[in-house]
């Protein structure tokens, strides 16, 4: 039973790989054109832009989520009162869909009615926060909205990692007179590697899947400035009826995921194993 169901993954994968080597347009056909679709793909300016966007977005999103999540976790871990409430507040965005959060941020970033307008009313006549309609800045608005949504997740993962660290460590550090921030950066952070790598894998998968938030916030615009691979593939599959090209693009995406996640996953498995011994 499991085997037949799992066959779905292998079969669809093989099917997509095969179609990516054909000249399929609206309907898949069986001819063989080698790597022709891949050549066309990498000559397609929109695809190259979407890859570039994904790289910039991914680097910023992952870095920001890790930094924000780590800071939140460390500060919450100082035995503060109201911890439960704070944790709830930091994590609730993660329960919402990317569509919903995308729409809220689109509304707050709207130059005519949102934050920019509020600041201007308060007397800052030239205050500008119109990134969402600017081609060179729109990508960063997607970073802001998705970091808002996902950094609580990193906080939760790292907090549970922090709580797993032996209290003796802190006593020893205090006796040696090492400043607290030093202990966090030099000792605790490396010890958190299993939690950090878990977060990394999750965040990376989110980056590759990035679609809902873009559709809800900018629909890829202005122009094609916030185009991403997942949206490129959807457009060519269903809008522009170019199944061959879209299949080639999804295979490229898959290889990227495997190339990055597999080593991470392996390293994390080793670290967890060591932790158990």
């Amino acid at each position: 039973m499991a085997a037949t169901a799992l066959g779905a993954y292998v079969l669809t994968l093989l099917w997509t790989a095969r179609v990516s080597l054909s000249s399929s347009r609206i309907f898949p056909n069986g001819d063989f054109v080698g790597l022709g679709q891949y050549e066309r793909l990498f000559r397609n300016a929109r695809w190259l832009l979407s890859l570039e966007n994904l790289a910039i977005y991914g680097a910023l999103f992952i870095a920001a989520c890790l930094v924000v999540g780590f800071l939140l976790a460390v500060f919450i871990d100082q035995q503060v009162s109201g911890e439960g409430v704070l944790r709830t507040v930091f994590l609730y965005p993660y329960a919402m869909s990317f569509v919903a959060t995308g729409l809220v941020w689109q509304w707050m970033l709207n130059p005519e009615l949102g934050i920019q307008q509020v600041a201007r009313r308060l007397g800052l006549a030239h205050f500008a926060f119109d990134w969402i309609v600017r081609q060179d800045m729109v990508l960063y608005t997607i970073v802001i909205a998705t970091v808002w949504q996902a950094s609580g997740l990193v906080m939760a993962l790292l907090l549970s990692g922090l709580r797993g660290i032996d209290g003796e460590l802190w006593k020893a550090a205090r006796i040696d007179g090492i400043p607290k921030w030093r202990v966090y950066v030099s000792i605790v952070l490396p010890m958190l590697w299993p939690s950090v790598s878990t977060a990394l894998i999750l965040l990376f998968v989110m980056v590759v899947k990035l679609f809902d938030a873009v559709v809800a916030m900018t629909q890829g615009g202005p122009g094609t400035a916030s185009e991403v691979p997942a949206k490129f593939i959807m457009d060519y599959l269903f809008g522009r009826a170019n199944v061959g090209l879209a299949s080639a693009a999804s295979i490229v995406l898959l290889l990227t995921v495997l190339g990055i996640v597999a080593p991470l996953y392996y390293a994390r498995g080793r670290a967890l194993q060591r932790g158990r011994e």
Partner: protein, 303 residues
Amino acid sequence: MKRDAPIAVLPPPVSARPRKPLFTPGRLGIYVFLFTAALFFLVPLYVMLVTSVKPMDEIRLGNIFALPAAPTLAPWHSAWQAACTGLECEGIRGGFVNSVKITVPSVLLSIALGAVNGYALSFWRPRGANLLFAVLMVGAFIPGQVMLYPLVRALAAVELYSSLPGIVIVHLIFGMPMMTLLFRNYYAALPRELFMAARIDGGGFWRIFFELMLPMSLPVIVVAAIMQVTNIWNDFLLGLVFAGSDNLPMTVQLNNIINTTTGERQYNVNMAATLLTSLVPLALYFISGRWFVRGIANGAVKG
């Protein structure tokens, strides 16, 4: 649930530990940081709430952070039963019903399948179990786009494309790796002697599953349910592609309400619709709290 259970993620509550004095400059700094951060996280929710109870002229003239001068529930009413979700203007309630119709069977079936798969993989270890497992791992990370088009063709071939059973099947396929891994890891932590004893007592595959494993699985079932309800309720991509116009889930309708409007945008109605769409996962999160955290942490594919 026991602390040392395999899926426990969070440590004991702070109240169990000694508390430090409240007021030193350092402590103050910590609270200022946390308070500022909390504000940043709460602002969008606040904006959504106040906008959803303002009349449009107040939105046009006022600022998005101001409290409503004349609060009204009309936007909520309109979002629920009058807003246009494309060609039809019957609000988002149809989407709500669709989301329930999609989520309930998808969650129940994916948990049932995940439990049986996990049980078979950890205790019966069929031939090729390792290969199956490797495929599962790929399945967990594979970008959905790779599978979309073949699945569209396959479902169309059996006339299930754009139907309720079709979208449920797709959710099952996409949820299977995570569900199987979750249950497999849970069962792998149970003592194998238990299973052996049941075998000696003459229990078969299903009998051991129903009478021994399932009753012990309650904690992991709760986690699985939270994960799947959130994932499936919040799904946009699969609903968009596979549900068909009669079964569009709430997320897709919400996006349609907002992105297909012509003329002036009804921001108050939009925000009410957004809140309505988020109600189920948010309620689940606030009610289940710590379990939710366990759920997402386990979603991280524990090694």
